[in-house]
Subunit: 757 residues, 2 copies
């Protein structure tokens, strides 16, 4: 209980509701007696996970390549199912049939001014036995690239994000009819071919610059953890910011009989062929590009002068795929709730990989499996969770969150009714706690993190993260002060990149993504070297962070499943929403000022005056001065939310003072139902502009970032894209969901007040 | 006159005194009639400089290597002398005899774990004829390195500045008994062996990483302007922040009969042997270093993982020198003043180089020569400058500001009496105006810059610089606003690195350093490739910026030499001093807060808690909490200065209103004498802590930066070095010089008032 002592707990006690019962010992949503019982059960649970098991699971699950369609993918699913059943859990495999292209032909060659044929192959490493399983490995490729056979001049586009194309415009370089070469990083990879195609490129190469995860970072594999010269990052380039999951079944489960689009109707396939390459293959291509020297921030760590082109390098790129349908094997275990079986706590991690996938995903999947073993053991000891727990081992995450998305779409109606919380993991490393998710769960997960011990520092993972936040740039004095004194450490918002997406973005289920990291960097992501040899040397060799993850995930699931009142909190949530509102208001103001300033410079002739004639930059285009936007609807929505949050806190305090309530109390059931509905009330059925699948109005992956979150996405992205009319509409819509959320919170408060009476 | 129109001139008119005479058309210090005459003469002058001459001078002066001691160094001096005389100027060569070591033996080899012998040679380039003059070239070396023959493990120390050693301490790496390898950049090169020796290193290598001026920046020579793989930066490593000039004659001119120190008494020689190397020679050494991976900001652009060491690389370094005395040839021309011959305007640029030296220094020296031709032509047309003009072509700048320092020391008494302003140049490139110097001259040089046309943009160089300041990061909205509305563009403060040092730092002569740059980057600095071939292709190929420099320098000299009242201004000066006072007060506060915060972290156990066990960082040492410092003396001094500046402005306004005065007026003479004395009053005879040669209390090169300025150096450096007691003393001393300056300004105001009566 070390982590509960000291100044921080004091602050917590003073500043926040202390729980459902005044005697609840800080366990929110629990009456005194049940809090004690919960703590006992959780303590028992946390003693169970064993690093030796994690190690053994990883060895088994990574023994062969296990991508979708591989024999060992199915084999793993069945082995997981067997384990779950062996431990006494009610488990099953759910199948879906999805479009999953694999390479039929891949070719890349420099055809001018000199010739060079790219190897497109990752060599085996003698000290790494599984790296030699060539027959079973997927070749290096980007899934959902279109077929294509193009020969064109090469243009280097840095990360290939929209800002890079703004710079290309100023450099006077067009990618129209060209093949672009972008480096990995700066966005989710699928953004690169999408933006390239929008600008008229006919092909896209994506390479791993040693600056990002190669020798610039440290020793390369097998001497160190970083990407060797021939290492390639595979990965999906499906346009997931439109919708993830099977491209042919948007919005519905890809069951055998589901209605499917024709392949050419699928919006999420790339418009141009794409191929990922190593830096050994990229260097001769980049060295053959001349023209303007690349802007300084575009230059990587290859021993060359980086140029933009176009040409004189000309490249022939050919990519042809087998457009097959492949089966998915989602392994789902259910622990039925004893009191509230229709309130679900869902926990998931995918089991499929690009190749052997030790770090991604087995380091997380193994922890979930050990978590399952622990919960199963408690059940045998008499533990009876109040809510239903659903444990999910997803298939097909790598290709586009296939297994989770299809499952969530298939069960959408039931999930909308019953899903209280989804907790995701996806790989795990040594280091600090990382949490992102719904801010209604910020206080809750802070509480759990205080109870998990960091295996290195022997402090709570919460305390260690607090120290990290205090110590690490860009922390300024104000950030430090906040990290030291705010009751809860802030959590991030969820963008995309793992299986929470369908839950939070599409269905509006409050979600969390958790894990450890920051101390075991590497460069084997999505390569044949992400395997047991790598992970047991450079990842989490003694699997103690894997144990911590199992303890954290399991404790969170138990605490949510057993709470009499679901421990959502609306103070941290409101505090966070205030920041987002401030951000979008500032964004609008800054955007306006930037355009005014730039137009002024154009009028003054500034761009021409300061131009270096040897490095000409075209002036940016003149733009219409943006209107001032009406943020009143958003402010009104926020005010309603804030009032509701205060009412809820009062109702909670009264209920606490009244000493909790009986579990059978119908008002309590009503309160829980309303609480579950709060996240749902943050969605709108017609979704975000041009992407109706994304219904959540507070969180979404950026249309042009992919991984990176855009909060208040409708408002923020329309301002970023200078669509002022859309922005006004989106402000009104965002204001409306805040009002809706306020009403739902108020109804929860009303139910709670009747509990207390 | 384009540049005088518009909003900026309007602001100027409203905010600042308009000149000595109310009719003075903005020419400060001139009565109406004399302003008109001055403008006519200046216009005539600016029509004279001819790019064809600059080109011819450069071809002649760079035809052979012309370092101190080279036959062609003397030859160039005599040729310059001949030119000056040919144009009718009174010119002479002044000789000094200085210690100038040249290599007898240089060897560098990796002896473990593998063997590699460094080449230490710059190869000739076929397309560059002078690059093949091996017989006359100085080998690659650092002048004033000590002799040494050491074999030791290698440690990579990044730039080798004090902060880097703080990081090494935290990494647990000591350089005691090691040879350090530092990259060029981050400080003046002489700092690197000095700090290395302070930490116990036995040898020092300095290499040019391609990140700083090689292929990372752009094409390498001869295809482009950047440093080729075997290119080496020669240069002095004399400890100039103690005193520049001949190491054996500190404070006095190195005339034949001067009293000299023994070599082993000279404080400014390095304590350990130093050798500069190319990146071709550095790469095998760095690749052989292992141990901890270097911190991210330490990594350059070689295709290796940068490690810190120590070892296993062991290096044998041998350097032995001929410790010879060599003659200097300063070429000095005098144009006697017609009315105030004992008030001197001094203008200088060095003529010596490390090798052929086209950019450094001939691009500047040629402009000065053309400037001299222009002034000589005006004299023949009847122009009679009121003050004496002294034109100086210094020798031995590269080795340690030898020629200028010895001359200034030799003539110190006379200069202290008579020197009004020193204007320095040292090389020139294409681009924007760059000015640093005494802020009493800020307004003056802004005025001159408004009259010089930029050859590319066809705007005044002032206007172009203003646009540049508006446009370029890190300009924020406030910086932009200031650049748009402040009457004068701010000028930088002078650190060191060129021949102004003895004038401003030692003698307290108001000084300026001017030039153009920013559009012709390169990597040939101090190599055999800095020659006519390079400059005429990559420097200023049509020599139009050379012409602009001659126009700027000559106009400034003329305007100072002819002004009835010297155009010092104390408003910009006071404004700048206020900023410096704010800075040191904030520095003390920040330093205190940092130490308090760090001590708190040590008490909390934060460092241990967040440590990555695989990348251990030792905690920093606990430090005593600094006292609050008493800044009152500095504030009082500032208040006195501010009052005096206001009084001066009032007196100037009255004098202007009175319509100027007769030149013969004794009070005017008195006012000018007092004005000249203002900069002198900013010095203290006992100088800065531990370096009495540096007498100026507002500007000095940093003891640990070399080039980089430290303003209010006594105060700032004692705070930086956490010498709190010294800081209190230095605050009082700085306050005193501000009071002294205030008194001198007041006496100038009093003299001016009596002029106006």
């Amino acid at each position: 209980m070390l982590q509960r002592l000291g100044v921080f707990t004091l602050c917590l006690t003073l500043l926040t509701p202390v729980g459902w019962s005044a005697d609840g010992d800080g366990l929110s949503g629990y009456a005194a007696a049940s809090a004690k019982s919960e703590q006992d059960w959780e303590a028992k649970f946390r003693a169970i996970p064993d690093p030796a098991n994690l190690r053994a699971y990883m060895q088994r699950l990574t023994a062969r390549p296990h991508h979708v369609g591989a024999a060992y993918d199915k084999d793993n699913a069945e082995w997981i199912l067997g384990k779950l059943k062996e431990w006494g859990l009610d488990a099953t495999i759910e199948n879906f049939d999805v479009l999953f292209p694999t390479p039929k032909e891949r070719a890349l060659e420099l055809v001018a001014p000199t010739r060079f044929a790219a190897k497109l192959e990752e060599p085996a490493v003698a000290s790494d036995p599984t790296s030699g399983q060539h027959a079973e490995q997927l070749p290096t490729y980007n899934a959902y690239s279109s077929d294509g056979d193009v020969t064109a001049p090469l243009v280097y586009v840095n990360f290939g994000v929209p800002e890079d194309y703004e710079m290309l415009d100023r450099l006077g370089v067009s990618v129209k009819g060209a093949i672009v070469i972008a480096r990995y990083g700066g966005s989710w990879r699928g953004i690169k071919p999408k933006v390239a195609a929008e600008h008229g490129a006919v092909g896209c190469l994506i390479y791993s610059d040693p600056h990002e995860d190669g020798y610039f970072r440290g020793e390369v594999f097998p001497d160190g953890p970083f990407r060797p010269r021939d290492g390639v990052q595979r990965g999906s380039v499906m346009d997931m910011p439109i919708y993830p999951g099977d491209p042919l079944t948007p919005g519905v489960g890809a069951t055998r009989g589901a209605r499917r689009l024709a392949i050419n109707e699928a919006e999420t396939l790339t418009k141009i062929p794409v191929l990922p390459i190593s830096y050994a293959d990229a260097q001769p291509l980049l060295a053959a590009v001349s023209g303007r020297v690349a802007p300084e921030s575009w230059r990587g760590s290859l021993p060359i002068t980086y140029h933009v082109g176009p040409g004189p390098a000309r490249v022939h790129l050919k990519a042809a795929f087998n457009w097959d349908t492949k089966p998915l094997y989602d392994v789902i275990a259910r622990i039925p709730g004893s009191a509230n079986p229709d309130e679900w706590i869902i926990r998931g991690n995918h089991h499929d990989a690009w190749v052997n996938g030790a770090q991604d995903p087995v380091s997380g999947a193994a922890a979930l499996l050990e978590e399952a073993r622990g919960l199963a053991a408690l059940l045998k000891q008499g533990w009876k969770p109040s809510r239903t727990i659903v444990l999910c081992f997803w298939d097909g995450e790598e290709e586009g969150l296939l297994g989770s998305t299809e499952w969530a779409e298939q069960h959408a109606a039931e999930l909308q009714q019953k899903a209280a919380v989804y907790i995701n993991t996806d790989g795990n490393d040594r280091g600090y706690l990382g949490v992102a998710g719904s801010h209604t769960l910020e206080k809750f997960i802070n509480g759990v993190a205080r109870d998990i011990e960091d295996p290195e520092a022997k402090l709570s993972v919460w305390k260690r993260l607090q120290f990290f936040r205090i110590a690490n740039p860009p922390a300024n004095a104000a950030d430090r002060q906040e990290a030291r004194t705010r009751a809860d450490l802030r959590i991030g918002a969820l963008g995309s990149g793992s299986d929470y997406s369908a839950f939070i973005d599409h269905l509006g289920v409050a979600s969390l993504n958790i894990g450890f990291g920051g101390e075991s960097e590497g460069g084997i992501y999505h390569s044949i070297y992400d395997d047991f040899t790598w992970y047991s040397k450079f990842g989490d060799p003694d699997f103690t962070y894997g144990r911590a993850l199992a303890q954290l995930g399991g404790s969170a699931v138990m605490r949510l499943a057993d709470a009499e009142l679901l421990p959502y909190d609306f103070s941290d949530f409101t505090d966070t929403i205030r920041r987002y509102v401030n951000e979008v208001e500032k964004l609008a103001q800054d955007s306006r000022e930037q355009i005014v300033e730039r137009n002024r410079r154009l009028d003054e002739g500034l761009f021409a005056a300061i131009e270096n004639p040897r490095e000409k930059l075209l002036p940016p285009p003149k733009e219409q001065t943006p209107p001032f936007l009406n943020f009143a609807p958003l402010e009104n929505g926020f005010a309603a939310l804030q009032r509701a949050a205060e009412q809820y806190n009062q109702a909670l305090a009264q209920a606490s003072a009244a000493g909790g309530a009986k579990l059978a109390n119908a008002s309590l059931r009503e309160a829980n139902a309303k609480l579950i509905a709060v996240e749902r009330s943050l969605t709108l059925k017609d979704g975000l502009p041009n992407r109706p699948w994304y219904q959540h109005q507070i969180y979404a992956p950026g249309f042009y970032t992919g991984y990176g979150v855009k909060t208040l996405p409708g408002v923020r992205e329309s301002i970023e894209q200078k669509q002022w009319k859309v922005a006004e509409e989106q402000i009104a819509r965002a204001g409306r969901v805040l009002e809706n959320a306020g009403e739902t919170i108020q109804s929860a408060a009303a139910a709670l007040s009747s509990v207390a009476r």
